[in-house]
């Protein structure tokens, strides 16, 4: 019952969001707000973040904080590049997964077996990941090696051989491309929806498909199977799990290794996009993924929303520095909607007591809306540095509004020892 309602609420929310976006697009004339290109870019940029976040989710649901995602992702990129140039994309996928999983295994050994503080172990892995990969490059890709002949340098692997498959939604997003045609008409709402759908279905990387499928799969495994129940119990109350005969150590090992593999998969994705390993190409995405997961309240759906927000903001700023200023307008509209809702609530039921606080909040919201609107009118183009931080600022703002509802697994980050309850 409640689940159905939640699901409906989410749908209504998405619909409302698209409506507002469409409105903002029409008012500002920035087509990139809902263009298929932006959404394709958002998908491209969101996937590695989402995969890292999924990695974090698996580990933290089992009670192990994984701040080493970045290091594991780096391992994933290197191994994917190394295997990919020799044996093709499938090998790259497998090797990247294994590389990340090895990082996860290290984390598991340190935190689960030796009871090392999770943050410390993660930090060490973040040091080790780049160190090991650089070392491997220095050994395997140095001048005179076969790899170097094939185009490797110390900072890059040779390109992956073979093709990866990029399917599209037939007829709608490809060939006749009905959605593309609809998008180019720039009709209110219709074109926006068409652009969004087309962006998400046109020539998508096969790994994107895999990554997107991993979200419901993770939900299914963690919330619908007995294995998932055991895994989550290790994050909520490992002692209870232990007392019921659950092998908590094993569960944690599996979870953390899977976590590393998922982060590694994020690395593989980066390699597939750039067709080769490029040193430093992860650029902190492991951390952002972790943030997306916390943002998403340790749930796959929320995590996807966090990654999507980040990817969207990043894609939009990359495509159009000016479109970013419409976020001012967007914020103003949201604040006005908030005020509207509050006013309606005031009309219908008069709750005494908290009135002054509510009025101040509303006044602040109105003021904020006015300021944002004024900013939107006056600012044509932000300095690039401010454009670059759009996703980060948005994340912070959303957290400011929503973070009090977050609830992390109860035994997350707790060092668990068999037979020692604290």
């Amino acid at each position: 019952m409640t689940r159905v309602r939640k699901y409906h609420l989410a749908l209504i929310g998405v619909a409302a969001l698209i409506l507002v976006m469409s409105l903002v697009r029409v008012v500002s004339g920035e087509t990139d707000i809902t263009s298929s290109g932006t959404f394709a870019a958002a998908l491209l940029l969101a996937v590695p973040i989402g995969l890292a976040g999924l990695g974090g989710l698996w580990a933290e649901r089992a009670g192990v904080v994984n701040i080493g995602l970045e290091g594991m992702m780096v391992l994933g990129t290197w191994f994917a590049g190394w295997a990919g140039y020799q044996w093709g994309p499938v090998a790259a996928l497998a090797a990247g997964l294994i590389g990340g999983a090895l990082g996860g295994l290290l984390h598991a050994i340190a935190t689960v077996t030796f009871g090392v503080d999770h943050i410390i172990s993660g930090v060490a892995i973040n040091l080790l990941g780049p160190g090991i990969t650089r070392f491997l490059s220095e050994v395997l890709y140095k001048e005179g090696t076969p790899a170097a002949e094939a185009g490797a340098g110390i900072t890059t692997s040779p390109a992956i051989t073979g093709q990866t498959w990029t399917p599209s939604l037939p007829v709608f997003s490809d060939g006749p491309d009905l959605l593309g045609k609809l998008e180019s008409t720039h009709w209110f709402l219709l074109s926006d929806v068409a652009g969004i759908v087309r962006g998400l279905t046109h020539e998508i990387n096969i790994l994107v498909l895999l990554a997107v499928l991993l979200l419901p799969l993770t939900y299914f495994v963690l919330w619908r199977t007995s294995f998932g129940l055991r895994l989550r119990s290790a994050g909520e109350n490992p002692w209870a799990a232990e007392s019921l005969g659950v092998n908590v150590y094993l569960i944690k090992y599996i979870a953390v290794v899977a976590s590393g593999a998922l982060a590694g998969l994020g690395g593989v994705f980066l390699v597939f996009v750039s067709t080769k390993y490029v040193e430093g190409q992860t650029a902190g995405r492991g951390f952002i993924g972790l943030a997306a997961m916390i943002f998403g309240n340790w749930r796959p759906g929320g995590l996807a929303a966090g990654a999507a927000l980040f990817g969207y903001a990043d894609g939009l700023q990359l495509r159009s520095s000016t479109a970013v200023t419409t976020f001012f307008l967007f914020g103003a509209v949201l604040l006005l909607i908030y005020v509207g809702l509050q006013v309606r609530r005031l009309m219908t039921n008069d709750l005494a007591g908290q009135e002054t606080k509510r009025y101040t909040l509303m006044a602040a919201a109105v003021l904020g809306a006015v300021i944002l609107f004024w900013l939107w009118l006056t600012v044509d183009k932000l300095p690039n540095e401010f454009v670059f931080i759009t996703p980060h600022v948005l994340t912070l703002l959303v957290l400011l509004v929503a973070s009090q509802r977050l609830r992390m697994p109860k035994a997350d980050g707790v060092v668990y020892r068999r037979g020692e309850q604290h």
């Binding site: 299914f220 619908r224 199977t225 007995s226 998932g228 129940l229 055991r230 989550r232 119990s233 909520e236 109350n237 002692w239 209870a240 799990a241 232990e242 007392s243 019921l244 005969g245 659950v246 092998n247 609830r407 697994p409 109860k410 037979g419 309850q421 604290h422």
Partner: protein
């Protein structure tokens, strides 16, 4: 049950020469116990006697260093709890082992999940749980989150967990510590039913009259060794206690009233909103006078913790709190403590101690801004250590020294340190929440003496305890708290634990007597 029938049936559990050593401690030494099937077998002993350790060994959570375990006549050796579950042993732990964020159903099926096509078959699980609950009279809502449940419900969930696994031998480690008499009676009713169905129950409790009430056989453990096996019909509670400790039983009786008419603490119209419409505290008002101990009786979760925390300024609440005529309701916790409020928290490990810090640092805790701990912006280490030594002496804290880490002390000694600390600095008002919970009889008596002496010297005390004997014995007045309201004021001199329990569970409607 006659002796002949017992002899023909194989014992459900036989423990032979069990020995378990921890670093520095021999928790169990050559333990021998035989438990007959279809009986309730009680194990009693002081704190730290080794009861829980023994049960953990029987449940496969710890491995014995020596000795053999036989279940239904066959020797077994457990590596993990699953091995024990396999042969039909289930355990309800001293501290609840539940995941708060899971539903009742999830907690119950964890580790023994019914599956369908690889997924968790919740429908089947729900059906089975409802069935079990019905047959054993253990009513629960399988889809509720455990965090929303009261203690009694949680206890039932724990028992269901065990039954769900088809256990024929149940271990209950101090199941009644947190229950009110009515709930205890309910539990015992359940246990009798289980027994009638042929299940075996091993039962641990410090409450000896309960033991005598329910048990078919009793084993006494002292310092890790079985010292006696007795028949409940042959002993009195007092004899049993003397077997446990080898000394006289103390009683928590107040001698003469020392209540004055000076109000030390005045609480007026204290209200604390909860989630939604429910109020955690609803218009709570009372006075405590100099030299008075006010006992608060109530089933856990009816607002006691909130009341304490509101008075301490840890949680915000509306209403007025006055200490010696001064309104302190807007003060910080620190200022309240400085102005003379002492606080013995209900959970010493959570709120009372820094386990990984030394004793003298624990002495400083809560007294950072006062002598002897304070010296300007500095912590006065020398004076703090000296004063800790005084507490160790006066309160008989058994420790090698004041630099020892708090975690190296036994529970009773930790509690004595906390009591000593909170009595230091001449408090005018003391909150004592479960001051003797889980503390053995010797330490209990010492703590009661300290409370009585301080009261005689004019201390006002707010006493909260689940131990109704303690509450009745120590208090000058008892207030009953029920769903955040004070529903009855009672005179401890003419109240029985049973009647008190009636008020606490709402079975008797609140009337203002006295």
């Amino acid at each position: 049950m006659s002796a002949d029938t017992l002899a023909t049936v194989k014992p459900a559990v036989e423990l032979e020469g069990i020995t378990k050593r921890f670093p520095g401690v021999v928790a169990n030494h050559d333990i021998r116990i035989t438990v007959q099937p279809g009986t309730v077998h009680a194990i009693v002993g002081e704190n730290g006697a080794g009861k829980s350790t023994l049960m953990k060994i029987l449940y496969g959570m710890q491995k014995p260093d020596e000795g053999t375990i036989k279940v239904n006549g066959t020797e077994v050796s457990f590596r993990t709890p699953s091995d024990a579950i396999e042969v039909g042993i289930g355990m309800v732990h001293q501290h609840f082992m539940l995941a708060d964020n899971f539903t009742v159903l999830e907690n119950i099926v964890l580790g023994a999940e019914p599956k369908r096509f690889g997924t968790l078959d919740t429908a089947a699980a729900r059906k089975r749980i409802v069935e079990l609950a019905d047959t054993h009279g253990l009513r629960v809502d399988p889809d509720k989150l455990v965090e929303d449940l009261g203690v009694g419900d949680r206890q039932r969930v724990e028992i269901l967990k065990v039954l769900y696994r088809g256990a024929r031998i149940l271990i209950l480690d101090e199941p009644t510590a947190v229950l009110v008499p009515q709930e205890v009676e309910e539990l015992f009713q359940n246990l009798r039913e289980l027994k009638a169905e042929g299940l075996t129950v091993i039962f641990i409790s410090h409450k000896l009259d309960e033991v005598l009430d329910i048990a078919d056989a009793i084993t006494v453990i002292r310092r890790g060794t079985t010292v006696a096996s007795v028949n409940p019909s042959d002993v009195t509670a007092r004899q049993l206690a003397e077997l446990m400790v080898g000394s006289e039983l103390p009683t928590p009786e107040t001698r003469e009233s020392t209540v004055t008419d000076v109000v030390t603490l005045k609480v007026a119209e204290l209200t604390m909103p909860g989630e939604g419409e429910r109020l955690l505290l609803d218009d709570v008002s009372f006075d405590i006078h100099q030299g008075e101990i006010l006992g608060i009786a109530g089933v856990e979760g009816n607002g006691q913790s909130e009341l304490i925390e509101a008075i301490m300024g840890i949680r915000p609440a509306q209403g007025r709190i006055e200490l010696a005529g001064q309104d302190i309701s807007t003060w910080s916790t620190l200022k309240r403590r400085e102005s003379g409020i002492g606080y013995i928290p209900e959970d010493r490990h959570r709120q009372g101690l820094l386990l990984e810090a030394s004793l003298w640092e624990n002495r400083v805790l809560g007294h950072q801004t006062r002598k002897p701990a304070r010296n300007g912006i500095w912590v006065d280490r020398r004076a703090s250590k000296a004063d800790t030594e005084r507490i160790v002496r006066d309160y008989d804290v058994r420790t090698p020294g004041v630099d020892t880490l708090a975690l190296a002390l036994s529970g009773g000694n930790q509690q004595k340190l906390i009591v000593g600390r909170e009595m230091s600095g001449d408090p005018a008002f003391l909150i004592a929440a479960h001051p003797t919970r889980g503390v053995d009889v010797g330490a209990q008596a010492a703590i009661w003496d300290h409370l009585r002496n301080a009261r005689a010297a004019g201390l006002a005390v707010l006493l909260i305890s689940a131990d109704l004997d303690e509450l009745i014995g120590l208090s000058d007045t008892i207030q009953v708290i029920y769903r955040g309201r004070l529903v009855a004021a009672l005179d401890p001199s003419d109240i029985t634990p049973e009647r008190l329990g009636g008020y606490m569970t709402g079975a008797i409607a609140g009337t203002e007597e006295t």
